[in-house]
Every structure is written in C-alpha cells, then in structure tokens.
Amino acid sequence: MNLSKRKLRLRIVQYVCFAVVAVGILAPVVWMILTSVMYPKDLTSLPLKLIPTQVTFSRYAELFNDTNIDDAVYVFKGALLNSVVIATFVTLLSLVVGSLAAYGFARLKFHFKNGLMMLTLFTYMIPPVAMVIPMYLIFSQFGLLDKKSGLIVLYLSFILPFIIWVMQGFFGSISKSFEEAAEIDGASRLQTLIYIFMPIARPGAIATGILAFLMSWDEFFYSLVFTSSLNAKTMPVAIAEFNGKFTIDYGMISVAGVIASLIPVLITLFFQKYIVMGMTSGGVKE
C-alpha cells in the first residue's frame, strides 16, 4: 500500500472518531440548552421535535425577575449566591491553611509525621454517611447547623487533605539549595515559605485552588444534611428540590442547570492546563 493512501485512510478514521466523540460530549449539553429555551408545548409534543421552530427566553427572564420567596426559582437564586460565597471562602482558607500544612509535611521533620499524613489520607476512604450523625450533634452544639460557616468548615475537612497531598508534592520537588540560601541570608522559616517556596509553587497553588473551588461548588451530601433554609442552602440542593416537586418543570430545571454549569465550565475551559496539572500530580504521587 502506498503511503499517501494509507495516510488518507488514517485521516478518515481520525475524523470519524472525532465526530463520534464530539457528538457524544456535546449532544447532552446542547439538549440541556435547547430544553431551557423550548416552549412547554414543544417539550411535551409527541413525537418530540428535536429542533424547535421557535425559542423563548422567558424562563431566564423569570429567573432574574422573580421576587416571590416561596418560589423554587427564587430559592435557586439565593442558593447560587450561597454557593459562590461558600466556594470562595473555602478556596481561600484551604489554600492558606493547606499550603502551611503541606510545607510542614514536605520540608520539616517532626514526630508522627508519616502517621498523621496517613491518617489524613485515610479519611478519604470512609464514606461521609459514616461521619454525618456525630458531626450533626457536634455542629448543633456549636450552633453551626444551617450556617454558611458550618458548611465552610465541613468542606475544608475534605478539601484540605487533597490540597495538602498535592501541594506537598510541589514543595517536595523544590531543591534544598533554595532553603539553605535563604537561611544564610537570615530569612526566618515563615519568610522562606512566603518569599521562596510560594512563588515557586504558585502554579500548584493555582491548580489546587481551582480544584478546591470546583469541589465545593459540586458538593451535595453535606449541604443536603446540614442546611434547611436559604441561610446556607447551596445550588445543588436547590436543583435537587426542583427534581423533587411532583410537577417537574424540565424547562426550568434546564435553565438552572445551564446557569449552575456556567461558572465551572468556564473556569475549566480557561484554566484547563492548571486543572490537568493539579489532578495528575495528585494521583501520580502514589
């Protein structure tokens, strides 16, 4: 077989695969977007029209204009705001607290270091349902139920081990000569961490920070158990409540889905390089 013919055949195979993968990835997303702008009569038509003849943005308008606190739509808006606040605080706090701990685990010697690290990682194996009942009792003692601060603490508890694990990998790979040079120059340990280590590990911090944000944005179980009102209820719980209603409004669920996905999808597309780095360095360091 001559080479160009073989190349042509390869190209055809590649583009057929390309089409299959692209459709597989995009079709469900496109369908969600379409559902969010289709008229109810089109959504329930039989046979279903796959391409609507007319579209409406009235649901999006309703979402922005709704001021009735009893509406699921209004609850969704409030919950979305809570999600933004909680995810932002979790990201910032986990980066500060997690980087400090990661530095300690990666660069310093102390008793029980390995034991503490293993224990921190072991918490990942236990399903949250195992901890939730005593947690609930402890949180009610401290008045943290149905509070944003309560959820922030809960999210830190599973995001911190992840940040520590990834960041200690980054800190561990930095050459010892940086530390020695800083020490000779008379820098304190904290200064060494802030001025020498953090700038070098910055890509790692960005990567883990983004993942921390996405993890708290996505979290559902703790929010379901620990929140009961718009004080702290987050977006995933609000969307679950949409589903629970006996008359399911798929159009409105899709609007909520599109809006709730917008932030994480944009972040992911924009910071793809960092996310890939953060995820793979977390796993590969086994």
Binding site: I25, T35, L48, L108, P127, P134, P236, A260, L269, E286
Partner: protein, 296 residues
Amino acid sequence: MKKRKSEERFAYSVVSPALIIVFFVVIAPMVITLMYTFVNMDSTSTRTGQFMGLHYYISALSSAQFWADFGRTMYYTVLSTAAETIVGLLIALLLDQDFKGVKFLRAITIIPWAIPTVVNGSLWKLIFNGQYGVLNAILLRLHLISSYQSWLGDPGSAMNAIVIADAWKMTPLAVIFFLAALQGFNRATYEAAMVDGAGVFRRFWVLTLPYLKPTILIVVVMRTVEKFKAFDLFYIMTRGGPADGTKTLMYDAYLKAFTNLNYSQAATYAYLIAIIVVMLTVAYMKIMRKGSDELE
C-alpha cells in the same frame, strides 16, 4: 539540637490548623461512628445504649439485603469503572494524535467533567424520561424501539441509566490521566517498532499498554473508591428505586440513617463499605504489581 527543637515547634504550628479541622470535623466523628457499630444506637429500639459486640456486623453480613446491595454496588462499580477506563483510553489515544481540530476536541472533552453532579443527574433524568424523553424520541425514529420505554422505571435499565450518566461525566477524568501519561511516552521506541513492522494493535499491546499500566491502576483505584461512596446521582435520578433496583450499599446506609433512624446499622454499613474499599485497593495493587513483575 536546639535547631531541631525549634524546627519541630515550627512544624507543629504550620500543620496544626489543618490537622485541628480534620480531627474535629472528620476523625472525631469517625471514631464516634465506630463506637456506634458496637453499641445499640437505633432510636427505634427499646435497648438503646446497650453494648452489642459484633452483632451489627454479623447481622449485616448474614442478611440477604446486604448482599443484594453489595451485588448492585459491584455491578455499578465494575460496569462504570470499566466503561470510563476503556472509553477514556480510546479517547486519549485519539487526542494524542496530530490532526486538525484535535486541540478543539481536547478542550471540549473536559466539559462533562465540569458540569456539577446534580445538574448531570437532572440532565440525564430528562434524557431518559419515559413520557417526553429525547432518548425515546431518537430511538423510535431510528426504529430501534417500537414504543416509548420507561428507562428509569425499570429496575434493570435504571441502574444502566445511572452507569451511563456517571460514565459520561467522569470519562474525561480518565482521558486527562491517560493523555498526560501518553504525552510522556517515548516516541522513539514506538517508531522503532513501526520500522520493525509491528502493526498498530501489536504496538499498542506490547508497548503502550504496559507503559500505561500504573496510570490504569491509579484511575481504577481512584474511581472504585468514589463509586462505593457515590450518592448524588442515585438521590437525583432514582432514590434507590424502582423496586430497590438502584439501592447500593451507600444509598442503603443513607436510608438506614435518615429514613429508618437506625444509626447503628447505618454506621456498620459505612464501615463495611470502607473495609471493602481498602480490600479492593490492596487487591488491585497486588494484581498490578504481579503483572509488572512478570513483564520484567
């Protein structure tokens, strides 16, 4: 000596904020829950507070319900992990090639992973809907079904529907891992094999697959742990139904804790899940290590 001491003091001061949070929020409740598995904490019982020894473990392990849950959990875990690993590997092999448009495909591949789990569940619930669902409309038009099916209304197909929803969202994660590994792969060896006349499949089997083995292990272990803890999709799509068809160990533990208020039974289930996860992780590592020893 003095330097050592001050280093240790500094070390404790930097690690303690994180450790305090993890201890109070996770480890203390974890230990309390472990106690629940030995003491009667079932609020519906008249013997609350009584020490029960291994009673809850024995009764769980000897109940048909537990093993039915276990079977469904394994079905879900094996099927979705296999789908994600195999499809993920195939997509990564495609994305590792050089052709026009591959950058675009790489960028969009990550989108399903970024969609929140709860949104993903709602989205697939909509697609699988028995009355107005788009899947029914497409399959009917292609004459693959003769009438609308209630995909989430049948115990068997409901579990498969969850597997599809889960695999759609999580395959990109596998792709990312495999692609990162493939990009570190030494192309010279591959090209040498090509010159030697080894075919595509042989090259994949002899060179690429052994090279990817550690990455496959990571993906499989990571995903298995997550599957055993999976809750969100089940809550959104089926709530364990219909007819217990999608009731996994995790979902049953949730029902025991929050619907039946049987805290001890729920706690025991949770610890059994953790034990199974640890055992599976160790088993995977043994299998993979044995495999790589044979290679050398």
